[in-house]
Structure formats: C-alpha cells, structure tokens
C-alpha cells in the first residue's frame, strides 16, 4: 500500500513513516504543507493520504482544506485526517457528499499502533474511521430525545462502534460477543432508527453517520 503523509512536526512525521513502513506500507512522500501534499498526490497517486489538520503557514485548518481539495481533484482518494482535537463541524465537512474512504482521528490514536494501522487499512479500502470522541459527542447530541434515547446500553455501544467504522467482526471482538449477537443488535438498531438495512459495511456506516448528523 502506498501512502502520502502531510505533517509539519518532524518527530511525528518521522514516527508515522516508521510506523507505517514497519507494517508493510510504502510511504512515497512525507511533506510539510498543503501545497506539497497536492503536488505529491498528483505525482504519486497514493492509495491513501494521511494529513494533519494544522499545517503551515497559518496553522489553522490548512490540512483539512488541502485534504478536501485533494479529494476534489482526485475523486475517491482515501484521506485520513489527524488532529490534536476533534470537532464535529470538521467531521461533517469531511463526510459531506462522501461515499467513503474518509478517516478523522485524534493524533493520540497513533499511540495504539495496531488500531491505527487497522484504521489506515480500512480507510484505504474505502471504509470509514471516525474517532470515538466524535461519536461520543454525536451520541450526546442525540441522547435527550428521539429514537437514539430508546436504545439499550448494549445497542448504544454497538451503534458507537458501528459509527466509528468497525465491521461486525471487529465489533464482536471488541465487545467480546459473537458475531451473530452483533448482527442481531445492528438489525434492532436499524429498525429503531428506521434505516434501510444494508449488507455493505461502508454504506451502513455512512447511513448511521448521516442519521446521527442530521438528527
């Protein structure tokens, strides 16, 4: 798998490169700002771009804008955005009109190597990886009224993991239950939220996220 990294801090850039290469990926370019990212994406056609939100020269949301620009220039380019903080507003902008291949994670998650690599793989294959903190806040926002408040605690756990972008198998492993139990929970959640059930993992995640965002 070929990866382009955009991160302004040398230590993190270096660390990310090592981590990804240690897991059998090839880092074709590791750049410092948005313009270089666009150039690298155009030149290398990577399988995924890993981008920091804050990049020079303004250190505001240049990375996010560069990532969105790269996706506009190369439709379907999987992008994993890393940030020191997560904002639902940014998650919304990333997900707007998306058909998958989007990730938005706290930088802290890099410390858990296997989970991070898993997220990178998932996004590169067109899946979704939303930070648990985004999901927690989405659920808080939806908790006071509406169908989400009628879910059982276990169903809410499953919903949260599903919204993060995990597959049934991953959810089962995380909650230490069988895959069949997970399938039962997801079916019940889809009925409660009045969503179209779908076998395709990615479409399912996007439906759930769209539901939580619009409620």
């Amino acid at each position: 798998m070929r990866v382009v990294i955009a991160e302004d801090l040398f230590l993190l850039r270096d660390g990310l490169t090592r981590l990804l290469e240690a897991n059998g990926m090839k880092v074709t370019a590791a750049v410092e700002n948005g313009d270089e990212l666009l150039a690298a994406v155009a030149a290398d056609r990577p399988d995924i771009a890993v981008v920091d939100v804050r990049l020079p020269p303004g250190f505001t949301d240049e990375g996010l804008r560069a990532a969105l620009a790269a996706r506009q220039a190369h439709p379907g380019l999987p992008v994993l955005v890393l940030s020191q903080f997560v904002e639902q507003l940014y998650a919304r902008e990333l997900l707007a009109g998306s058909t998958g291949g989007i990730g938005y994670l706290l930088k802290d998650r890099v410390m858990d190597g296997t989970q991070f690599i898993d997220a990178v793989r998932r996004v590169a294959q067109g899946g979704t990886a939303m930070d648990p903190e985004v999901i927690t806040r989405l659920l808080t926002h939806n908790s006071s009224a509406g169908p989400v408040s009628t879910l059982s605690p276990r169903e809410r756990q499953v919903l949260a993991l599903m919204a993060e972008g995990r597959s049934n198998a991953a959810i089962a492993q995380q909650l230490v239950i069988t895959e069949r139990a997970v399938a039962k929970h997801t079916a019940s959640i889809f009925v409660r939220l009045d969503l179209q059930p779908s076998d395709d993992d990615n479409r399912r995640v996007l439906a759930v996220l769209a539901y939580l965002n619009n409620a």
Binding site: R54, G58, T60, D61, E62, L64, R65, L68, A69, Q72, Q84, F85, E87, Q88, L89, Y90, R92, E93, A96, D108, M111, D112, R137, T140, H141, S143, S144, A145, A215
Partner: protein, 489 residues
Amino acid sequence: MEERAEAMTGVVGGVAWRVGRACVDGVRAWYAVTLAVTGLISLLAGPLLLAAALFGPEDAGPFGPGGPFFLAVPLGPVALWALCWATGGGGRAVGAALFAPGSLAVMATHLYGGAAPGGRSVSLWLAPALLVLGLFGARWIATESRRTVGKWSGRPVPVPYRRPPGAAGPWQRLRAGGWLTDPATWRDAAWALLSGAAVLLTAAVVLFTPIALEVFGRHGPFFPLAIVYGLGLCAAPAAALWAAPPVLRIHERAVRSLLGPSRQARLAHQVSHLARTRADTIDAGAAELRRIERDLHDGAQARLVALGMLLTVAEQLKDDPDALGPLLAEARTSSVKALGELRDLVRGIHPPVLADRGLADAVQATALDLPLPVTFTGVLPGRVPAPVESAAYFAVTELLANVVKHAGASHVWIEIGHSDGLLRISVTDDGRGGADPSRGTGLSGTERRLAAFDGVLAISSPPGGPTIVNLEIPCALSSPKTSSSSGTA
C-alpha cells in the same frame, strides 16, 4: 386604471397619515407647552410672593378690573393640563395638584394689589414653602419632559442626577450635598425658566404683533383688529398642525441638551464605567490564570510525574517481561489521559475552531456538541477582532451551558449577525423561563465580561418561557480572509 386608483389611494393614505401624525404631534406640543408654562409659574411663584410680601403694600387692595373672574386665570394651566391628560397626552394628577396652589397664590398676589389675601404674615409664611415647591416642581417638570421625550422619540433621555455612592440613606444624601449642590437641579430650574419664557414670548409676539402694527398705524385703517384676530383664529389649527412637528423636534433637542447629562457628567460616568470594567477585566484575567495554573498542576503535570515514576519502575523491572507489560500499558493510558486533559484545557483557553474558523463556525461547532437540537442561522461577512471574538464565544457557551443546566428546553435557536457596527447574537430556548441575572452568578458574570467591550446583554425570560437573550457588542469586521472562502463547505 387600476394602477391610478391604487396610486390615488396611496396618496390619500399618505396625506391622511401625515395629518394624523401632525395631530398627534399637535397634542404632544400642546402638552409640552402646558408643562413649560406650569413650570415657569411654579418656579416664579415663591420669589414673586416673597417680593410682594416684603416690598408690596401692607393691605390687600380692592379687586382690580375684571373682579373675581381673574381668579380663573391661574386655573388656565390646570385646565390645559386636564385637557391634555384627557386627550391622551399623558400627565399626572400629582403635578397639577402640586402647582395649582402655587400658581393661584402668585396670581392672586399680583392681581389684587400686591399682597396675598390674608395679609403679609400669611404671604411670608407661604413664600418659603412655595420656593421649595418651585424647585420640586422644576424637577418634576424636568422628569416629565424627559419621560415624554423619551417615549415620543423612542430613545430615552438619560437621568443626570447625582447618586451618592454606597447605601444612600437621607443622611448620606444630605452629606453629599443633597439636591442643592447637584448641577442637574439647577439645570432643571433653568429648563423650567427658559422653556416657560420661550412659550410666553412666542405667545406675546403672536398676540401683540397686530396690536403693535395697529398702534404704529401702518395698516390701521385697512385691517381692523377684529378681522385680523378672526382670521388668525380660523388659521390657528392649521398653523398649529404645521408648526407642531418642527417645534417638537426643537423641543427634543433642547430637552436632550439641557436635561440630559452634561458633557462633564457623561465623561465622569464614562470614566467610572471604564474603571469598573477594567477592574473586572483584570480580576477575570487573574482568575483565569489561576484556573489554568491549577488545572495544569492537578492534571497534566501530575500525570507526567506519574508517567515518569512508572517508567523508572519499568526500568528497574526490565528483566521481568511479565511485570513490564502491564506497567507499559499503564504508562500509555497515563499519557493518553494527560493529552486529553491538555486538550480540554486548550479548549477552555482558546478553542482551536475559533482560531481556525472564526466566531460563527465556533458557535456552530459548540451547538453541535449540545445534548439537544439547535437551529443555527446567520453568517458573519468577516472576522470579528480576536478579543471580542473570544469574549462573545465564551458568553455564548456560558448561555448555552445555562440552557442545558437550568432551562429544561427541548430546542435552542441561535442567530448571529453584524449590522450598524454591532455584533448581534441571540440565543432563544423554549424552556421554562424565569432566568434572572440578579440571582445567578453566571449571567451577571457574562454581563460583566461583555461590559469590558461596551457590550450589553438583554434578557427576556418570563416564567414559563421562552427565554430570549440578546448580546450586542460594538465592533468592526475585518475583511474576510481570502483563504477561508476556498471550498471547505
């Protein structure tokens, strides 16, 4: 055809509106004139009576020409007043009751030969009371003028009276000099004199010009006085309606300049306001620094110390892989928690999204995190200056936190905009209402923080809701950054 008819109705409607408007202004001008005359009479009653008692003849003379009907003259202002009051011009019976005796006494003194009925002793006894009443009267006239002008123009006239600081009992008020050393009292008196004199002068000019012309013989043979006054009487209503609006405008300007706070008083008020808000700002800044210091000390710093200790232990145990695993896992948890605490702290100091995107998006981002549905409307065409942006942001988060904690609301509406040099934000919820800034510390704290930027906070929260909070901060928008418009939406 239809268009023409429509235009005609438009014209007729416009004329009717203007005539109606002029009628309203006429009644108002009438009331202002009544106030002015009453003020003058009440202010002069005391001095005139005193002068008459001291320097006038010893005994009351016989009735002059006209006999007892002159007693009706002082009742004129009272009657005018009653008429205005009845026609909706406003007014208070208290005022009439106060001035009636004053005006009666002075007129009687004047007209019946220099001494009030009852002789010198009664006049001397009455005069000081009337002097004081005159000052009270002038103040009352001033207050009433302020009130009416504020009501008519929709823009209140600030009350300029000095208020002694601290608990103001009668004794403190007296020590602070009472009314007599307050310049505003003397401005009130000046107003009563000037406005009354202006009215009397105008009336005299209007009434006596034909007589003067007659006396000096320029039109004498051609314009008998009866005809001139007859025509004048017919034209008077139209003339009054024509003159009322400009007269009212002049009246308003005069009231504002003489009865509003003087320039000095305004500056003094501004200085004390600035001193207070500066002290508040410094206090708030210091408190904020203490909070940050405490958060760092108890949070991230403590976690890093624990992390260091864990690593030391891990170093000693490096030959025992079984014990090492859990230790390292704990170390990682500790570092994750430290990062989380730092993140929360940064959010409390200056939220990243505020720095990135500005006020509107930051408020929207906060709204997204609320546990209830929020409708957000409005855009800002540019960036608000950073300090104002931060103050407004934290004010709104405070308001939203209050809504979540106390209102029991099921929906919140946030509107944000900038017009006429004012940043306006309104937060509305459908909760139980009854929010009172004087009870909770939250709202009054928000109010104080905004005051540092001359911002104001207006709350409407009847019991049972809805609660509407409006923020207004004067500020200019900087032109939008070209980069922020490039397609993130």
